[in-house]
């Protein structure tokens, strides 16, 4: 069927900020959808609040609204744009939920907007658990026994019908939020309540537990003519009971016979037809009983999902792109397969390799979080790897995670290795068993220890329910290592033993460690004093392996991902490495540059860096230079096969990068765009002869090394907060006393604000040294003067070695001391004098020139009492680059790459900082609802997973929009609860008065209430939790509170305020924990109240106002 001519304009809803359970994969799917619909000649309107996405680039859609994704705002957009159709299936759960809300409001009908891809009935049928269950029973399929409940009372009856353990699944939540497994009656009511709270419709499904069943997923596509194909099957290595987002997964499925697999395939086809997904992709999850093969249907997502991103990268079949084309009426046989060119997209990919995905968690950032893995997803990212065998792929996946593991153990990472080994030696078998039985993020390494201890496969299976096939594969890895060790002790390195181990996926680091194990362990056991020597030795033995390997021509070949198992010639250069006979990567003799990506998403390194890497690639293409992308993150746009000229889906380790480098021999490598991952490798790459373009590793070092940087600052006559490096407790106390409290302290060897703290007195400092920081001469502590109440400023700039262009000056809403990634920020600054702005520009220019930056740099400043302090300089892409680019319309990352290629700023007409009449606010999005118990107070440690942008003509409204986009609906009326520390009461006086004057009801704790009542502001007193009932928590639970302002008083403990904050998160009540955020929020509320309307405008229109 030809594409539809009756629709011209299509609205796409994006997924908003990166959250746990909803990450970059929807930038991948949304970007593909935008591109392919435009390609087919449709006008595309996009809404997405996330500025760090490729899809919100101004040239991807015709009109792009970076606005909060709420039903009201989408309706406004529909009213203005009058699209003919809405594509709801590429923006994750967010887009589906909004679509349902629009239908309920009657918006779609009112403006005559047709849904394409999926209809309301099918969305409801798939998403509503009762309807889904009914549909499955109707077509004769089995679902776990379950009962729906809308109240705790209703739920209690279930205990008689379904045996414990029971799974609680809240309706309409993403990533299984609020889901739980109940093992005993005692916990039942509480966990049901929690589930009800999380569900937007206050409904939970109480479901028979299938713990330990095998879990499979199928990715299905259907077109308008009812052709259905299966793109990929995925088997979860971790069985039922662990959310698939938190499971290690493998594609294709490994342990079902064809007959059993075809049963799942047939069921998938029946399900997609019954649910009625018209066109596009769906994901269906199955549980299979390992003892008799019985199948239960778990769920279906009637949209592209995280698994479809994985399936696309795993097979080379671009699910989102095809889904978009199917939505406008094309059929599968009318679309050609890009990779083979001659065959159609109407087929089922077959692969001749094994794909393994491993999740990446960030529990270290969330003190007090429950680290057990269960039905609620907790990981923040994932890495995928491709190898010819499971063993090779599995080891590559583990080293792709960048958790300092170089494979399945035996890699010299003694922190984990040794703690487990000591457990084993100390006969602490119970702990190992416990870790196997109650999965946490390191479980797989405990499995290895069980194997090493000689435990039977049966015992390991009973504890983990990991299929014996996977356990056997892991055992073969351990056996391989033992065989190698014996052979090595006799013969040293031989071509045979190294090749054998390479085929098992062992990295050079592992081989180095295994070959020198005794010596290394002895060195490690010397203790702290020998750590540096240990780590140097580890690198040296790794290098020895590499040298032997290369001397003996034992190098990996690169194989093609071709969708067809080699049956047809493939034209898309999408490669993975393997130790097999052939190298299929035919290298061109064009000028080419290699871009190192950011690896798995983690807190502090996410989509922003992928955005920059993609832009690097686009810029290279524009300059006629071949682009080579290296990355291991399947969620991203950078790992789409058509983003770069060549794609290597590989781990970002020194070994893997050098292998690609030696194969491609590019003219240069870009390490400055992928965040810490490539940056940490820069020096070692350079040592290995890799040509790094742009700012030199030496300049990067100059900016990062404290002493060298202090010199730079001195030379330029700039200021830095006073600081020192302490090697002993005496040093720390001495330095702190010298520069005066408060001080900002952190261990020298950690990144991203880990274990960083602001200390107000000597006693707390002693506490910090003894508990948080592992102080030693090898691990000194950095002590900085903390600038209290200072305004923090971020600057992104470009430098070509001759001149500097300041992209933007960003003023942080929260004060200095709160991690810049967690702070809201504003472009242009709203409280700085023109003179201060001049000073910032001039300081930026001199720092850029002094550090000989070629490309991007980011500087953090603090302003206190009209003094400008330089906090840090990063001569690389920063997290704020996409935000600045979306605000000003200047594609900083692209220009930076062109500067790296030798072009000059003046060629792009970039000199003066841009001016514009609007204000753009970036707000951080934090995952506290996934980690109950973790205090939400912001700190120097970054914990946000994503960001949103609010843009408007006024600051208040921009801030209001940013809050709304981040999920906080600031109230226009109602009750506000105040609990404000002594220092801040006065400062907030005028703001509180304004709330009062605008008719808000104010309630407060006693001290706060008295203070404001004395000033003539009516403020009711409410009991603290410790003062009896009804207290503040009761008000919150009864929906009587619309916003909370709670500024903590100095020392943070599990006091009343902590419980209030926890409750606010649970009940989704906007809560401001800093004075600055409170002021901004109040300003937002007042401005929006006054206008009684929200102003919307596409980003392309804003950019026209930039001069």
């Amino acid at each position: 069927m030809p594409k539809r001519e009756d629709i011209k304009k299509i609205l796409i809803i994006g997924s908003g900020p990166i959250l746990i359970g909803q990450a970059c994969e929807f930038d991948y799917s949304g970007s593909q959808a935008c591109k392919s619909l435009k390609e087919e000649g449709y006008e595309v309107i996009l809404i997405n609040s996330n500025p760090a996405t490729i899809m919100t680039d101004p040239d991807l859609a015709d009109r792009t609204y970076i606005e909060p994704i709420t039903p009201e705002i989408v309706e406004k957009i529909i009213k203005v744009e009058r699209p003919d159709a809405l594509l709801p299936t590429v923006g994750g759960q967010t887009a589906l939920n909004i679509t349902l809300a629009l239908e309920e409001r009657g918006t779609l009908k009112k403006y005559n907007v047709e849904l394409i891809g999926a209809n309301i009935e099918s969305i409801k049928k798939a998403e509503d658990r009762a309807l889904f269950k009914e549909a499955m029973i109707k077509i004769g399929l089995n679902v776990p026994r379950s009962v729906l409940a809308s109240s705790v009372e209703e739920a209690m009856g279930t205990l008689e019908k379904i045996p414990l353990p029971i799974i609680i699944r809240p309706a309409f939540t993403l990533g299984g939020t609020g889901g739980n497994i109940v093992y005993n009656k005692e916990d039942f009511a509480g966990l049901v309540r929690k589930g009800l709270d999380e569900s937007p419709i206050s409904q939970v499904l109480l479901e028979e537990s299938l713990l330990g069943w095998k879990e499979f997923e199928l990715e299905v596509m259907r077109d308008r003519k009812d052709n259905v194909v299966i793109i990929c099957s995925i088997e979860n290595l971790d069985p039922m009971g662990i959310h698939t987002g938190d499971s290690i997964t493998v594609a294709p499925q490994q342990t079902l016979t064809d007959r059993e697999y075809q049963v799942l395939r047939d069921m998938s086809i029946r399900i997609i037809r019954e649910i009625g997904v018209d066109t596009g992709g769906s994901n269906i999850q199955f549980a299979v009983n390992p003892d008799d093969g019985r199948v239960m249907i778990i769920e279906m997502n009637p949209r592209v999902s995280r698994s479809s991103a994985l399936a696309s990268k795993a097979t080379g079949f671009p699910i989102a792109k095809i889904a978009a084309k199917l939505s406008i009426g094309l059929t599968l046989d009318e679309i050609s397969n890009d990779i083979t060119r001659e065959t159609p997209a109407c087929f089922e990919p077959t692969i001749d390799y094994v794909v393994v995905k491993v999740p990446r968690w960030a529990f270290e950032k969330f003190e007090g979080a429950d680290t057990t893995l269960g039905t609620q997803m907790k990981s923040v990212g994932e890495a995928m790897s491709i190898g010819r065998t499971f063993k090779e792929s599995f080891q590559k996946a583990l080293r792709s995670l960048e958790t300092d593991r170089f494979g399945f153990g035996s890699d010299g990472n003694m922190e984990i290795e040794e703690s487990i080994r000591y457990m084993a030696e100390g006969q602490d078998i119970n702990t190992i068993e416990k870790e196997l039985l109650n999965p946490r993020c390191d479980r797989i390494f405990y499995v290895r220890e069980g194997i090493r201890l000689g435990w039977s496969m049966e015992r390991l299976y009973e504890l983990t329910k990991i299929d014996p096939w996977f356990l056997a594969q892991m055992k073969e890895l351990v056996d391989g290592e033992n065989t190698y060790t014996a052979d090595y002790s006799k013969n040293g390195f031989t071509a045979e033993n190294i090749v054998t181990m390479k085929k098992l996926g062992y990295s050079d680091r592992q081989l180095g460690f295994i070959s020198n194990k005794n010596e290394l362990i002895a060195l490690y056991e010397k203790g702290e004093s020998a750590r540096k020597e240990y780590s140097m030795k580890l690198q040296e033995v790794e290098k020895n392996v590499r040298r032997f390997r290369i001397d003996n021509r034992i190098i990996p070949g690169f194989r093609l991902v071709d969708t067809c198992g080699g049956e047809f010639e493939a034209f898309t250069p999408y490669y993975y490495s393997s130790y097999d006979d052939e190298n299929e990567s035919v290298v061109s003799d064009k000028k080419k540059i290699m871009i190192l990506g950011g690896g798995p998403n983690r807190i502090g390194q996410g989509i922003e860096f992928d955005y920059c890497c993609c832009h690097a690639s686009y810029a290279l293409r524009e300059e006629g230079v071949e682009s080579i992308m290296v990355n291991s993150n399947p969620e991203t746009v950078s790992t789409d096969y058509d983003t770069s000229d060549r794609l290597y889906f590989e781990p970002l380790t020194l070994e893997d990068i050098l292998s690609i480098y030696n194969n491609e021999k590019p003219d240069g490598v870009i390490v400055q765009f992928g965040g810490q991952t490539p940056l940490r490798l820069a020096k070692n790459l350079e040592k290995n002869g890799v040509a790094i373009i742009g700012t030199s590793p030496d300049s990067i070092d100059q900016a990062e090394d404290r002493e060298r940087f202090a010199d730079v600052v001195r030379r330029l006559n700039l200021l830095q907060p006073e600081n020192g490096i302490a090697y002993t407790q005496g040093d720390v106390l001495g330095i702190a006393a010298g520069i005066g409290y408060p001080v900002l302290v952190r261990p020298s060897y950690v990144l991203g604000g880990r274990a960083m703290a602001i200390i107000y007195d000597q006693k707390s400092l002693v506490d910090y040294i003894t508990t948080a920081a592992n102080l030693s001469p090898e691990h000194p502590i950095l002590v900085d003067k903390f600038l209290e109440d200072a305004v923090e400023i971020d600057v992104d700039a470009l430098c070509d070695g001759e001149s500097v262009y300041v992209g933007a000056i960003m003023e942080h809403v929260e004060e200095a001391g709160i991690h810049s990634g967690d702070s809201a920020c504003i472009i242009p600054p709203i409280s700085l004098s023109p003179e201060m702005i001049k000073r910032i520009i001039s300081a930026t220019e001199s720092l850029a020139m002094e550090l000989k930056v070629i490309g991007l740099l980011n500087i953090q400043y603090a302003i206190k009492e009209s003094e400008l302090f330089v906090i840090e300089v990063n001569p690389r892409a920063s997290r704020t680059v996409p935000f600045v680019s979306k605000t000003t319309g200047v594609p900083l990352a692209k220009v930076a790459v062109k500067l790296m290629l030798g072009r000059k700023l003046k060629e792009f007409g970039l000199s003066e900082m841009k001016k514009f009449p609007f204000i753009s606010v970036k707000e951080a999005v934090l995952p506290f609802n996934k980690f109950p118990g973790v205090d939400i107070l912001l700190s120097p440690e970054m914990r946000s997973t994503g960001e949103v942008m609010g843009i408007s003509m006024d600051f208040g409204e921009s801030f209001y929009k940013a809050s709304l986009a981040a999920g906080d609906r600031l109230p226009m009326k109602g009750t506000i609860f105040l609990s404000i520390n002594r220092r801040s009461k006065e400062e907030l006086l005028s703001d509180v008065k304004a709330l009062f004057d605008n008719g808000f009801r104010l309630v407060a704790t006693e001290g706060t209430a008295r203070f404001y009542s004395d000033k003539g502001i009516t403020c009711e007193t409410i009991r603290k939790v410790s003062e009896g009932r009804p207290n503040i928590l009761d008000l919150v639970k009864n929906d009587e509170i619309n916003m909370i302002i709670n500024t903590p008083s100095g020392k943070i403990s599990k006091d009343d305020a902590y419980y209030i904050r926890q409750t606010a998160v649970r009940y989704h009540i906007p809560i401001m924990t800093t004075i600055q955020a409170a002021k901004a929020a109040i300003r937002g509320i007042l401005e929006v109240r006054k206008k009684d309307d929200i102003f919307i405008l596409p980003i392309q229109e804003y950019h026209k106002k930039v001069t």
Partner: protein
Amino acid sequence: MTKKSYLILEDGLEFEGTGFGSDMETIGEIVFNTSMSGYQEVLTDPSYSGQIVTMTYPMIGNYGINDDDGESSRIQVDGFVVKEYSKTYSNFRAVRSLGEYLKNAGIPAIEGVDTRKITRHIRDRGAMRAGIFHDKKGALKRLLAHPKMEGSDLASGVSCREPYDYGDKKDGRPKVAVFDFGVKKNILTLLVNTGFNVTVYPGSMPLRQVLKERHDAIFLSNGPGDPDAVPYGKDLVTSAVKEGIPTFGICLGHQFIALGLGARTFKLKFGHRGANQPVKNMITGNIEITSQNHGFAVDIESMKKIRDIEITHINLNDNTVEGIRHKKIPLMAVQYHPEASPGPHDSQYLFNEFYKMIKR
């Protein structure tokens, strides 16, 4: 314990790997199959007689071998080539390992070779003779002495010797005579499930003799080898057309029907073997994902010239003929495998169409 083994192709390309299964030497036509699961069905499919099958999926043996999934009573391939043989298997139906199964059947196999390289080689140079050897000395010479696939009647070797009834017979059901050129078990099962009483005859048995049993329809099965080398296949079709008896053919059966109608067949460069081949049904316009296993195909131009024949199915990858039917008499045939095993079940409706053809 591992024993070195060699895979040698007739153009001299050589791979060293590890032998498993039987210790014997074997020679046959090397082909590749792209199904990711279903190795037990592939091994036991009589159409692979005379062939050494390379699986493109690299990990084979994962779920062992069970008692139910064989497509015939024994292993039919002459050799088996995999990237990695999984010594440990895990599946609730499994009763033995793949290695044990091959060994018991006396079929040699090799693992640890670059199957993707083999596949790409066959794709570029075409299917050719190859052997699995333990002793390289004189191997190539022995290999070149082996007959080529073109001109080989392999069907006679895998056909049953005596007629037999398959499945339970029920009164009042139409009777189908299956001409066995190497029939797969699931074809028979599906015929029974569709509602036929099934009797299987040696492929070479004359139609006249079979029809004495008063069958309502005949079925021409799949099978190995070159259709042109089996003259009685073509003759069978000529007689069937004269009789006007409802006829259905699959794979080799389809090729016989084409030959019997006067069309030509030819050898494909490297064949279609896998479970993901898109076939368009030209009548409904729908796409079926099909299971395929054939090295020869029907020449489309010669088929188009035949009166009253309609091409009902086309392969979307290379536009070859996948199915035909006669407009006047009850006769239809498909090149691919609607019985799947292994592969998708999208095309099982054809058995019902066959059934309806008799009812008419």
